[in-house]
Symmetry: D2
Subunit: 136 residues, 4 copies
């Protein structure tokens, strides 16, 4: 099962070449990541502020296959193909809304840390169960 | 006396109309603001982290008079035309480096706060003296 | 009549003081501005790409009255209090979703230009009618 | 030989966890990329505007090994470990200025395109020679 969401391309998201500035895709992915928690578990802000858990990124691989322009949107499918005791790999496949063409595919590995000292923690059971539901 | 610095326009700073996205001017101004402290007093990061002082913005007026494009740079003159017990108005006049034409003029009023609770504080004497040196 | 929309505060929207970085409010306002066109007239991207019209900002006044934090959202009311032959003033009043407190009030004046040469144009009748509907 | 440059962490570059928001590293890398051209060949903006060449990103791999905070800076070493007829892989190794610890290592593969239609082009000889000088 994948979590699906959509990010519209905004007026300021493009670069001087007229396409979405490639770092901005990670901002779209993070919006999808936040909404994944917000809609399927608890608000991501509460996870950070009340439980003091965070998921800093330690590794990314991404392929860009088609440029994205202003006026279009990115349809994102988010899944969790790998899970270890202290880390999870999130996969984001992005499609151009206008023609359905795949624009990018990213694997983003995050570790679970305590935000007070950024030390690695085992992923709590409730989040492990959540991630497992979205294994591919 | 004005503090002078320069911000090059970067590849991702423009918008879909091909000019610097207007919110990005405030990012240039903040870089100038940080460098104003870094070069004339103490590092702005130390002011925040060690003295727990901050200068949140409470009011802005800005005129944009010429668009700025990728490949150009913004020459900034920063001065402090108004100073009260707990606030300071910073003036930023920005010029296009390529032709010297004025691109923008902004007045940004900030209050001095303690960052632990965002309560207003009198501006400390050393900063008051610093700001007074850059009165117009 | 005002156009109403909401912008959630995202994980990366804050600054080192832990509140929404003040330039980011203008990004929220521009999202509201785009959605104002998208939902009440034609897509803003079509206005730019097909009609080659744009609305660069020439003047801003803004008051910030309360900080906004991650986990909250900005409820925006957009209206058009002033209209001249070639310019319009857009007013954005922003409220913290969590407690309804006003966070900011901005007046952003834009001129109508042809995007090929950035020369001022009379606002076309269909857009003039649209703006007039949202006069306060 | 590597090209060396430094990006100071700015007040707005951090996220709600208090560290540089991970997409922002790609903005630092792009600044380094632009300066690599600006200082070793021709201005990158001229390459785009006059020669109509561009280097969109098609693949990234990155490891993040240490968080970066406000007040610090990222020391970047840029080299070009791989070169094919139509693409180049740029390597960015980033170190925290404060303690010299490696913060990240990224391989970013770009293709040479004509900006009018984004079709792949052979890398011109002068740029091929430039890149070869910075092979590791």
């Amino acid at each position: 099962m994948a979590f699906r969401t959509q990010c519209p391309v905004r007026f300021g998201d493009v670069d001087h070449a007229g396409i979405v500035y490639y770092p901005h895709f990670f901002i779209y992915f993070h919006e999808a990541f936040e909404d994944f928690f917000n809609e399927n578990a608890q608000k991501y802000s509460e996870l950070l502020n009340q439980r003091r858990l965070g998921f800093p990124t330690v590794h990314i691989e991404i392929d860009y296959s088609a440029p994205l322009r202003y006026g279009d949107a990115l349809d994102i499918e988010l899944s969790v193909p790998k899970l270890t005791a202290r880390s999870a790999m999130f996969r984001y496949v992005g499609f151009r809304h206008s023609d359905g063409k795949q624009a990018c595919e990213a694997s983003i590995t995050c570790v679970c840390v305590h935000l007070d000292h950024f030390s690695a923690l085992p992923i709590p059971d409730d989040l492990r169960d959540l991630f497992a539901k979205f294994a591919e």
